[in-house]
């Protein structure tokens, strides 16, 4: 069951209704059962894995809470992290490591055949594993209290709005809310449903419509010229933004309908004027997780190297980011390209700042526009490695973009352009005129309801309603 399936439209209102009817003290357990049922609709067998990671997380954090010895606490944390990482490694990286070692051994003359595994990747495993690690580290750093209710730990790791594709939640945000489990207020329901409506628009009208074109081009890149490949490359970041951004809004909105506030994931990324700003606006829950648990400890450990310590920490952090995205060389290259962008930016930061303040550039619209365009182009280029299956495919696409001209394969429909335009106008308004031209938030009830009706009508009339998957389910 996904958010765009017909079953979810029946499932969700019943879940919210029952949540508000049952006594407050049973709500954690109720949502835990609901979340497990939701997961079981997709992969019942892997519930065992989710329950095991929950058991390990609960047991190890309780164990850490029972000791005052900092070194012992740290050792328990490290063993906890290793144990919760084992299933992720086994299901996601085993084949990749296996094939790499086999290829290496073959290259030096040894022929071995270590058996492959061909089980499906458990959905959401990268997300709940990272949430578990975050909680273990937070307990070690004394940033959160140890949660003694196993139901709360279970729900924190499995909450159905975010288990499949994030946002990657934090113990510090969720546990205080799970203690209260408030009754939904009318304001929660309206705020949640508005977010969900916009999330459906982003997913069904923008992401899936662009997906038809981008998939048609990239899945058959050999037969397309450089002009078409360049065009598809430019559209792909918008598709991913609308897909994961749309999913995130559906998750945040669904939780909000039950009075729970989960962390944001996107903040109009394409208005970023630098790569580092883009990464503060794009997949924020993931990048904040990396910053807190990988980048900060690394840059702290390497701080005596000054700026070069920062560069090393950045490269290693984005290497992890690439590996998280997929067990493939393309994902690793994708991560390294981001690391190179950010490292160059860090090295040039002082010069850029002094030039900007000298000429007061940050206030000039044309400078902001140029920066946004350059950042977008750099990001779109890097996404070629995220979209192509192999490094040689990505290399062919890049070579064609720069060498092979031709006429454009024109298949993006008027509906697609119209949807992108609406998304752009909405984000533009939110970025530069947040208190003007309000529609969903208008003080006039008529304007509000007309806006809801128009977006709902667009979803039904031009959305791609085939129950398609979300891009980030594969991670």
């Amino acid at each position: 069951m996904t958010f765009t399936s017909f079953e979810f439209l029946l499932f969700f209102p019943v879940v919210v209704l029952l949540y508000n009817i049952i006594p407050q003290k049973l709500r954690v357990w109720y949502l835990l059962v609901v979340s497990y049922v939701f997961y079981a609709f997709m992969q019942p067998v892997y519930l065992v894995l989710l329950a095991a990671v929950t058991g390990i997380t609960y047991g190890f954090t309780r164990w850490m809470g029972a000791t005052d010895d900092d070194d012992k606490k740290k050792r328990i944390m490290i063993w906890g992290i290793i144990l919760v990482l084992l299933p992720l490694f086994f299901f996601k990286y085993y084949n990749f490591v296996n094939e790499s070692i086999t290829a290496l051994l073959t290259a030096i003359g040894f022929h071995t055949a270590i058996p492959k595994i061909s089980w499906m990747l458990p959905v959401g495993i990268s997300f709940y594993t990272f949430m578990s690690i975050g909680y273990l580290v937070d307990v070690n750093n004394e940033e959160v209290e140890v949660e003694t209710n196993i139901g709360s730990v279970g729900l924190f790791l499995s909450f159905f709005p975010y288990i499949l594709s994030g946002p990657i939640e934090r113990a510090g945000n969720m546990f205080p809310q799970l203690k209260k489990m408030p009754t939904s207020q009318p304001s929660d329901l309206t705020a949640g449903l508005k977010l969900m409506l916009w999330g459906y628009f982003m997913k069904l009208c923008v992401a899936d419509r662009l997906g038809i074109y981008v998939d048609a081009v990239f899945n058959n890149f050999v037969n397309h010229n450089g002009t078409t490949l360049a065009f598809a490359t430019l559209l792909y970041p918008i598709q991913v933004y609308a897909d994961l951004g749309g999913y995130s809004l559906l998750a945040i909105g669904a939780a909000r309908c039950m009075g729970l506030k989960i962390i944001p994931n996107f903040n109009r990324p394409f208005f970023a004027t630098s790569m580092s700003e883009l990464w503060r606006r794009w997949h924020m829950s993931f990048i904040n997780w990396l910053t807190d648990y990988i980048y900060t400890p690394l840059s702290f450990a390497l701080r005596s190297w000054k700026i070069w310590g920062i560069v090393c920490a950045l490269m290693l952090t984005f290497l992890v980011s690439g590996i998280w995205h997929g067990a493939a060389i393309t994902s690793i290259v994708w991560g390294l390209v981001q690391g190179v962008y950010l490292s160059l930016e860090a090295l040039l930061q002082k010069k850029r700042s002094s030039m900007e303040s000298k000429h007061n550039l940050n206030k000039k619209w044309w400078y902001i526009l140029i920066c946004c365009v350059v950042v977008y182009l750099l990001f779109a280029f890097s996404q070629i490695f995220g979209r192509c299956a192999t490094l040689s495919d990505a290399w062919i696409v890049i070579r064609k973009i720069f060498n092979v001209r031709g006429s454009l394969f024109e298949e993006v429909t008027t509906y697609g352009w119209f949807s992108i335009l609406i998304l752009f106008v909405k984000d533009f308004r939110d970025e530069f005129f947040p208190n003007q031209f309000r529609l969903f938030e208008s003080s006039h009830i008529v304007i509000r309801f007309i806006s809801y009706a128009v977006i709902a009508f667009l979803i039904v009339s031009i959305g791609v309603l085939d129950g398609g998957q979300f891009i980030y389910f594969q991670f």
Binding site: T296, S299, R303, I307, G309, I310, Q349, S357
Partner: protein, 80 residues
């Protein structure tokens, strides 16, 4: 070292690292109030603070810093 002297030295570190000589430190100031104060420049600032004051931070202490006032207090406690 007196708090005023710490603030004076810290101000000059902020001016240098964040490239803005108009920064005036306040206890409740956070990264959101200072342009260019991000996760990259943060560690450069921390390294400079360690150098200038001759102290060493622990990662746990850094994780607990929420605002400039916290930083001043921790420097003060380390110098005593």
């Amino acid at each position: 070292m007196e708090r005023e002297l710490i603030i004076e030295k810290l101000t000059s570190i902020f001016h240098d690292v964040f490239g803005d000589n108009s920064i005036v430190l306040r206890d409740d100031m956070t990264a959101a109030d200072v342009e260019n104060w991000d996760s990259l420049t943060h560690m450069l600032m921390i390294t400079k603070v360690e150098e200038v004051f001759g102290i060493k931070f622990k990662l746990k202490e850094l994780n607990k810093l929420k605002m400039v006032g916290d930083l001043i207090t921790i420097i003060e406690s380390k110098l005593q």
